[in-house]
Symmetry: C4
Subunit: 203 residues, 4 copies
């Protein structure tokens, strides 16, 4: 089975999940706010949440792109592992909204933990997808795959669930700090992989 329809489906789900994030900002503006300029400043957490989650989904898309570049074909188990991966990614708009609406009240901890759990699940599913494809002697890898790139992906995926677990544990104590860590890690990852990713994964 070729991988092109998988890529179309994945790109579709990722594009929609990212674009739906704007609805979270939308719901923050109720009917006819009396002082719109003031209201817009007040809902800055929704705008920040939009930006962080859009970039996070963008990173996931770049990662998926990169992973699929080494994969040649798909079997059913691989397709279903991808469906599970997309299921957790498409969930991201929900905890994003929780964090944005509750970061300044009692619900901050619940929101930040929900966000962290979703990121852990995403990182775990990425590992399942990748190690199923690359395990078993390179089960689904293209015959001409780049061994250095394959090793680079493996090395960068393995610690990710633990990093997100650590950040989620922080969320139980200091939700605001955890949210800053989520955003900061996304930005760090983007910069680091843009500068050094070439050597590691030839992308």
């Amino acid at each position: 089975m070729r991988t092109d329809r998988l890529e179309t489906f994945a790109d579709g789900v990722l594009a929609i999940a990212a674009t739906l994030l704007i609805l979270n900002v939308d719901t923050q503006i109720g009917e006819r706010a009396p002082d719109l300029a003031h209201k817009l400043l007040e809902i800055w957490p929704s705008n920040a949440g939009y930006a962080v989650s859009f970039l996070t989904i963008g990173i996931i898309w770049v990662n998926h792109h990169n992973l699929m570049a080494q994969v040649d074909r798909a079997d059913r188990i691989f397709l279903f592992l991808n469906v599970f991966l997309l299921m957790v990614v498409a969930f991201i708009p929900f905890p994003t909204r929780l964090v944005a609406e509750h970061i300044q009240d009692d619900g901050a901890k619940a929101g930040a933990v929900a966000y962290g759990v979703t990121l852990i699940a995403t990182a775990v599913m990425f590992n399942f997808v990748w190690f199923y494809a690359s395990g078993g002697g390179g089960r689904l890898l293209r015959p001409d795959h780049d061994p250095k790139a394959v090793k680079g992906i493996s090395r960068s995926y393995r610690p990710a669930p633990w990093i997100y677990l650590a950040m989620t544990l922080v969320a139980f104590v200091e939700p605001v700090a955890a949210v800053l860590l989520y955003g900061g890690f996304a930005i760090f990852w983007m910069i680091e992989s843009s500068l050094f990713g070439r050597d590691r994964t030839q992308a």
Copy 2:
């Protein structure tokens, strides 16, 4: 007529229908819930509904992928049969919401029946799409189609409407049991087809 735009359109509708499911979870969190952690636990049926319906649409996507792998070209009747199929699949988010919001109250029966009827319609439309393409001496099949795969698809599609009919009849008596059957059948189907699908449909 080639089948590539049909696949793009189908992948688009399936990706959107799956991703829109998160809006059902969203609407369950009203304005500023007083105790967010508690509220998140309370809405577990919405989260379960999200997971079951996302996986169900994922299975439908894998099935459609698999079906199209044997199809070479499309005529208008085939395109319209696919539009009807997509119409019933894109309806799934609605009964999902009904079940999730009413499984614990008087509306459980109506919700579970609506969900079951949607699944029956999906299975019926899959049969129409497939038997139109493969009937009439393999009307739209690729010249080099795999006869074993074609037979395997036919054998697995034919009983599906009756299985969903049986589950829907259960919903009239025991809605909760029916909902467990819907979810269980999806998971069973995924495992079974991942393990044994290769022999039957070479995918």
Copy 3:
């Protein structure tokens, strides 16, 4: 300029417009309806509206598919004409909702007229797109286009705005009759073009 990105974009807009229709049905179920089964029967116009508009957008997709099969390349004017076409098609969910929610009250006329005007605009834009591509001595047609198919498309597009205009005029007097005409015409078109379309446009 090649036409592949135009087709991806058009398929995307059409797939989303069709799939968003379910949100119209969703909004009809308020918070915790007391008698869900009864409520579901009461909102049949929303379900009927979902079906008619989904099929209408499906027909538009098949038409666009068919039109593009004769087109070889795109220039900017052609791209912008397509953007205008997609703009009116993506508007369809709105009058669909108006008709579904108001067909049984005073707003029936306004809703049915709004729906009709949207269909007129769609038919007009289809004519602009098509006659720009096929005019000027086949400006954008593929060198090996089928003259019989080109003539068939021209013949079937030209009367469409007038047919929708006539139905919209009916809506001013008898909104319910007009809505039945919209639905009936879609079904008639599907059947007629499936049975006889092959001779006319080789699809």
Copy 4:
């Protein structure tokens, strides 16, 4: 890294952002408006906003199409710059709603400024994407790129942020005038580039 998945993802985000605009019109029709015809006339700003923003996103899509026609491959920095570009474009439905709902009240200035800032950000990101690809001696350009087209794109992108900045400054004084400028500039751009774009960018 090839550019095809980037184009699929971009087309997806742009198609969804454009199609979601209809939800802004939707929310303007509350539950069971007493006089629907009158209500529909009253919400003309929402319809105008839908049209202007749909066309604006259509123009962005044509521009992106045109830019990518000169680009051969993508690296990670280019992918992330595109993610940022899509992030600001997918934001457009939100200020569109602000303008549409508040153009006739006290919030007009805040809405018009928010819309303008989003357009400035879009123009800035287009410059980053383009000058990263075409700078450094044509870093990512195809070997057979058209130097005249490359120069034409550079010349048309450079002033865009300043033009939008000027319009946004107008919004601080005369919000209605600024909104007319946004719409007028989109229409001017479409006409100008359709008539003269061929010479400049061969599209």
